[in-house]
């Protein structure tokens, strides 16, 4: 593998890392049945908060902490509105999306494009020297390591731990989970908040490490992308992480293609990520895929369906009907 390719892959991983963190967070939230649609606004506001907090104190950890708090606060509003007030999660999430955008622009207006502290690369001794894998995986910064660990930790927590089993049960059938002794609302609040906190961390990961600095609309659109990737990922963190990397790769591709095909309008390549988004969502949710799978040889059908199709947690977006 050429050094160039290794470099490009390493950069894609870096660019994808905040997205992976956000996807893990939202996956947790949606797995308990709550849709936190506010991601785009929440990420902007936490990117702004994280940057200012770190800029003012010079302390990166404090920046991340404040960002997580902002993300969790937005998530708390969504959770309160849907669990306690029985409001539409989509409505509240959408309003928060717009609000987060405007608030971040307003509150961050005096901190535009300032040079601030950034997360630095930290090669892992020993591992960093492995050919190919070393530069891709182990000569990165803490954000990348966190994203990778978080992906596997979330996966393990969801599918291999007892709290994870309870978590999933709430998203599948809250009334049955209640009958098994799970405090449904508490679990919902808990993971909505944790998920929101991770979204906040993702925002700060942008302003402090991946798209450094703050400017109005700094991460606009990426929250929506994360929400779409959660679906594409079939509510599984590992698949979601792969989705985030795929998205990063498409964007890198758009840059490269411009040089390869100078005769095509520059604008056209900018459409690529959005076309990809429609396409993958079509593949995972369309009946057409079902019909195509049905045409394949029978033994192939089950693995194909597992690969291509996803189904959401049954109670996603619903409220608990209490006894």
């Amino acid at each position: 593998m050429s050094d160039e390719l290794i470099g490009i892959i390493a950069s894609i991983l870096l660019q994808a890392s905040p997205l992976i963190i956000a996807v893990c967070g939202e996956t947790l939230t949606e797995r308990v049945g709550v849709v936190n649609l506010s991601l785009d606004g929440s990420m902007l506001l936490s990117a702004m908060t994280g940057f200012i907090a770190a800029y003012k104190t010079g302390n990166l950890a404090f920046g991340f902490l404040m960002a997580a708090a902002v993300g969790a606060f937005f998530a708390l509003i969504v959770a309160l509105a849907s669990i306690r007030l029985r409001q539409s999660q989509v409505a509240v999430g959408f309003v928060l999306t717009l609000l987060g955008d405007d608030l971040s622009a307003f509150l961050g207006q005096n901190f535009t494009r300032l040079p601030g502290p950034t997360v630095q690369k930290l090669a892992i001794p020993g591992l960093a020297d492995i050919p190919i894998l070393g530069p891709i995986l182990f000569q990165q910064n803490l954000i990348v390591y966190f994203a990778i660990l978080l992906t596997f930790a979330t996966w393990w927590w969801l599918f291999k731990s007892r709290p994870g089993l309870r978590l999933r049960s709430v998203g599948e059938r809250p009334e049955a989970a209640f009958a098994r002794g799970v405090d449904v609302n508490r679990v919902r609040y808990l993971y909505t908040l944790i998920g929101g906190g991770l979204v906040g961390v993702a925002g700060a990961a942008y302003s402090l490490g991946v798209k450094i600095g703050w400017s109005e609309g700094h991460t606009r659109g990426l929250g929506w992308i994360a929400l779409a990737i959660v679906i594409f990922g079939g509510w599984s963190p590992i698949r979601g992480a792969l989705g985030a990397i795929l998205f990063g790769a498409t964007k890198a591709l758009a840059t490269v293609l411009q040089r390869t095909f100078p005769e095509v309008s520059v604008v056209a390549f900018n459409a690529l990520p959005w076309l990809l988004m429609i396409l993958v969502l079509l593949v995972v949710s369309s009946d057409i895929t079902d019909r195509l799978i049905a045409l394949s040889p029978r033994p192939m059908q089950r693995p194909l369906r597992r690969l291509l199709k996803v189904s959401p947690p049954k109670a996603l977006g619903t409220e608990l009907v209490e006894g």
């Binding site: 309160l80 409001q87 409505a91 717009l98 608030l103 307003f106 959005w274 429609i278 969502l281 079509l282």
Partner: protein, 349 residues
């Protein structure tokens, strides 16, 4: 707990009052006087005839798309793609403006028709993605919004660029014949107001008194049952989207044909998202929609003067409108907060 009746009467205005308080705190934090700021806002919206006309001119496309959203919301659809539908409407009108040569009395209807068709077709895409492809309208719509902006950029920097070369500024100004006649040198065109009144009346009629409106309502509440009761759920969903797209497109058309005089880089700039807020705040009370849209238009137009005076970021207007809707969702319904109220009946229309 029971809240006192005096409080209950003013409860519906709590969100607005709360939002004003919230923004006041923000203003104080940034060293501006809230009273002066709101006065500047007032002046910016009503200070002169020109300002008032500008408020109305901005209000018209906002009500067009809000009216469209009444249809899709009724059908249970989250038409976030409305922003793209507005943009496509303006592209449709621009196509006529740039390519058709005809007298004004033909050109204007043609441009308006083209804007409606373009908006409707773009909306149909979201609808088909949902009904045939299972892609949730929020995501289909969002992707199409961005694609619509990218398409505009492609057009103004490529095929429709002005003769002196594309700069992303916009196309060259349209021929005069296609521009809507404007009132007193403003951007407000009385013709668009007439169209708006007619369109809004039709939407109200459709929702209240037609079989189609009933089908949308059924679809919005329970698609499966509606289907079994004989409603062609997929078809009605796509049709609702298309009518909404047509209205939004018309709004976009009005924007290029009277607010601007050419296709610009960002023709809508969030009017669609704003109309989603309008309809959410109105909660299906049909007559409230135009009033709330007017309130929003006043706030936003007023915040231009506010910005000029206080040098504070203009997102303040967006914050004020967003917080109002959020507070309404959170605190607007005293019953949900666990208070007892006098009136127990629920008002849906």
């Amino acid at each position: 707990m029971r809240i006192p009746p005096q409080l209950e009467r003013i409860w519906p205005s709590m969100p607005v009052i709360g939002a004003l308080l919230f923004t006041s705190v923000l203003l104080l934090l940034f060293g501006a006087s809230p009273l002066e700021s709101y006065a500047a806002m007032w002046e910016g919206a009503f200070g002169t005839q020109a300002k008032l006309l500008s408020v109305i001119a901005f209000w018209i496309p906002l009500v067009f798309s809000s009216a469209g959203l009444l249809l899709t919301f009724k059908a249970g659809l989250w038409n976030i793609g409305i922003e793209g539908q507005i943009i496509l409407g303006s592209i449709g009108a621009s196509w006529v403006a740039l390519n058709v040569d005809a007298p004004s009395y033909l050109l204007i209807p043609l441009a308006i028709l083209a804007s409606m068709i373009a908006g409707a077709l773009w909306a149909a895409l979201t609808g088909l993605l949902k009904t045939r492809g299972g892609v949730h309208e929020i995501f289909g719509g969002l992707a199409l919004n961005n694609l619509a902006i990218i398409l505009t950029n492609f057009l103004i920097s490529g095929p429709w660029q002005p003769p002196e070369g594309g700069t992303f500024r916009g196309t060259q100004p349209f021929q005069d014949g296609v521009l809507l006649p404007r009132f007193a040198d403003s951007r407000f065109s009385p013709l668009s107001l007439v169209l708006l009144v007619v369109a809004y009346g039709l939407v109200v009629l459709a929702l209240r008194n037609t079989f189609w409106g009933l089908k949308l309502k059924a679809l919005g509440q329970n698609a499966r049952s509606a289907f079994l009761l004989g409603v062609s759920s997929n078809r009605e969903a796509v049709i609702a989207m298309m009518f909404c797209g047509a209205l939004a497109g018309l709004g976009g058309g009005v924007r290029v044909l009277s607010w601007f005089d050419s296709l610009r880089q960002s023709i809508s700039g969030g009017i669609g998202y704003l109309s989603l807020l309008v309809v959410m705040l109105a909660q299906f009370r049909l007559l409230w929609v135009p009033l709330i849209a007017l309130f929003f238009s006043v706030v936003l137009n007023g915040s231009i003067t506010l910005q000029l005076r206080t040098q504070l970021h203009s997102s303040l207007g967006g914050i004020l409108t967003g917080i109002t809707v959020l507070f309404m969702l959170l605190f607007g319904d005293a019953k949900r907060l666990g208070f007892n109220t006098l009136s127990e009946e629920d008002d849906d229309e």
